[in-house]
Amino acid sequence: MRKNLNVITAYSIMMGLIILVGIFQSWNIALSIFNLCLISAVMTMGANIQWGYAGLINFGIMGFTALGGLAAVLISVNPVQEAWSAGGTNILFSLFLVIGIVLAVRFVLKRYQKSKIRNYIIAAIIISGIIIIRFVSEPGIEAIEEVNPARTGFLGGLGLPIIFSWIVGAFFAGGLAFVIGKVALGLRADYLAIATLLISEIVIAIIKHEDWLTRGVKNVIGLKRPAPYEVNLQETDWFINLVEKFNSGKLALISDLSERQAALNQFVIEGSSVFVKLCYSGLFLVVVIILLILTQKALYSPWGRMMRAIRDNEEAANAMGKNVVKQHLLIFVLGSAIVGIAGAMLVTQDGLFTPGSYRPLRYTFLIWVMVIVGGSGNNFGAILGGFVVWFLWIEAAPIGLYLVNLTTAGLEDTHFLKVHLIESVPYFRFLMMGIGLLLIMRYRPKGILPEKIEIK
């Protein structure tokens, strides 16, 4: 108990803060913060596996998140039959061509010795393959994008429940991570950081502009939900009864019958959105707990010890007969897959897929701030980092507003400085994140909850 005191204190303070938001702002805001905290926690667990366990820098978190989101679209949206009949064959044929190219390149790589000629052959295969694919897919893509462009204009998905996409998202992200890892893991730490950052930008560019697959910047809205809809809830009897029971104290104070009905309606509307958010919280909590158990088990297993050995001294681990390259690849894939789950969860919660909203600041650098602030190498720390940083990210604007009002209390309301500062309150979150990160890195470089190695 004693050992874990700081963990328990830190988490209680965090929960207390969220409850305070619930009391003083509204339970709706508190729950949406909590849900995004949980999603951030999943992302930080992924990043923490890579950075904390193995010391790999992955600045491509945004790309994996977006792939997870793409999985949510491809799984849950109903297939667009017309589009399939218009251009489906071309797309499928192109897909076979892609597989063909990959196999051909593999064959050349296996069959021939490393040489200049081999490089040229590979380049020739890839370039000619791309040209053929363009010729094959172009008419198909055009046909697909012409099918009712205002509402569909893409192939659609499989029409399955969206929950499945969490697993598929993990596979998507893991697959991409396998390719990137094969290519880039040999690079030095800072090169790997830049390479992954740029690759994730390429992924986003593709998702944004391949309209036949993702609808691109036209966004996909109204995805299926694993939770009930507010509108339906507001009409169900058991839910109205439940809300009535919860608020019976307040309702009893209102004597007028019609007023009481109006108040009840108001409570039902508020309650329905809180209830939906609670459903999501439950689902996300299950994911977080499962992942936490798995990652903790992994951390204290022989495999976890090996990973730390590789992280702390690559050469020594290599000399001990551990396959560093293979383990790095494995952990890169695992971590990215977890991030992919988070990406799918995010899209599930929002109910919409907006490729334009994936920006490195929010989905890569902020996650890194979370990992560093929380404590790399410690799963509880990483999750706490996700909570703390997301909480501050959202609450920075109110806090900033309060600070501005406090410091400029002597000025008139129309003073240009005060007006300007109040207008720029949304940007105080960047300032807070930056200063927070710098302070933590300077005075507590291992994070709020530092890594603890205990041999069990």
Binding site: I57, N119, V183, A184, L187, R188, A189, D190, Y191, A193, I194, A195, L197, L198, I199, E201, I202, A205, I206, K208, H209, L361, F365, W368, V369, I372, L421, E423, S424, Y427, F428, R429, F430, L431, M433, G434, I435, L437, L438, M441, R442, P445
Partner: protein, 336 residues
């Protein structure tokens, strides 16, 4: 005649814009490479530092415009640059003193410094947005074109016009002056040589009596000059928006690595490699082929290798290929 038309077409749409864009990237890439070579970390705050310098330049431009000080047909921002450099240098030295110095003295691994630079990135971004706001700003004044497309047509009697914006010429001229002075400084002066020595082998340089504090300070000052001028030139040519500047960090990194990180000359050429490949691969060659080929062979499609949406993706793919086959860059990196 058709051949001339085709040539002018390429000049107008590919060569001139790519040269200007490449120069802007090149200045940024030298900035990245200097920090990497001497201070030994990948500076993720590059784009935001450039936007800070540009912001100060814009504020001075507005001040000069309000007191009626202009340069006639040249943009007022050119007089604002020296003042902006002073502020930028001050800002960088303050950041170095309070942030980077500690890690440098503790000999922290480069990764940690890169993480710290992310903190600086957040702070700088906040400062810029709080002071000037996130919106798009144009601060160009003076003559917009050196040669207008229709004037060119009238003079030469060709079908294709060649438009040269004055900002493009300013960019190229300033880049040539700046970069040649920098190379002269690095290669000929004593301070420049000691900087190169420090970059090459820190311990040996310290043994021969080179003052590391002086080297670091001069590096930041040069970085301030590069960041401000690079940022202002980009802002004059396009427009100033903090978010775009943050994004520009990516092709700048690509340029620095493609050229061989730590090698200023490589970074300089890397900027052009990135700019030209971006524009060459995403340009629609239809009109060009109409001029060059006989009528019977006229193309139907746009003859575009990649859609312009993939502009950034092109430079990143080049980077990935270079990293795979020649991680030290086209010109061997890490010799300053």
């Amino acid at each position: 005649m058709d051949f001339l038309n085709a040539l002018i077409l390429l000049l107008n749409y590919i060569f001139v814009p790519a040269l200007a864009y490449g120069s802007q990237l090149a200045i940024g890439a030298i900035f990245v490479t200097l920090i990497y070579g001497i201070l030994r970390f990948a500076n993720f705050a590059t784009g935001d530092m450039m936007s800070f310098g540009t912001m100060v330049a814009i504020l001075f431009t507005w001040y000069f415009q309000s007191i009626g000080l202009t340069l006639g047909f040249l943009p007022t921002a050119l007089i604002a640059i020296p003042f902006a450099i002073l502020f930028m240098g001050l800002y960088m030295l303050i950041i170095d003193k309070f942030v980077f110095k500690y890690y440098r003295q503790n000999k922290s691994p480069p990764v940690q410094l890169a993480m710290v630079s992310i903190g600086v990135m957040f702070v700088t971004q906040a400062v810029v947005r709080i002071i000037i706001g996130p919106s798009d700003r144009r601060f160009f004044d003076g003559e917009k074109f050196l040669i207008r497309a229709n004037e060119f047509k009238e003079i030469t009697g060709l079908n294709e016009g060649l438009a040269i914006k004055s900002t493009q010429v300013i960019t190229i001229v300033v880049t040539i002056i700046l970069v040649s002075t920098l190379f002269w400084f690095l290669n000929k002066t004593k301070t420049g040589k000691s900087m190169r020595a420090y970059s090459d082998n820190e311990d040996l340089a310290l043994l021969s009596g080179i003052d590391p504090k002086k080297i670091v300070m001069i590096t930041w000052m040069i970085a301030a000059i590069l960041a401000t001028i690079g940022g202002v030139l980009y802002g004059l040519d396009k427009s100033f928006k903090p978010f775009t500047y943050f994004n520009n960090m990516l092709p700048i990194f690509a340029a620095a690595i493609v050229g061989g990180i730590g090698n200023p000359f490589g970074a300089f050429l890397g900027g052009y490699v990135i700019a030209f490949s971006e524009i060459l691969l995403t340009y629609a060659y239809k009109k060009f082929f109409i001029y060059v080929l006989p009528e019977s062979m006229e193309p139907d499609g746009l003859i575009q290798l990649l859609s312009t949406d993939y502009k950034f993706a092109v430079s990143f793919s080049i980077l990935v290929i270079v990293l795979l086959y020649r991680p030290s860059g086209i010109f061997k990196g890490k010799i300053l």
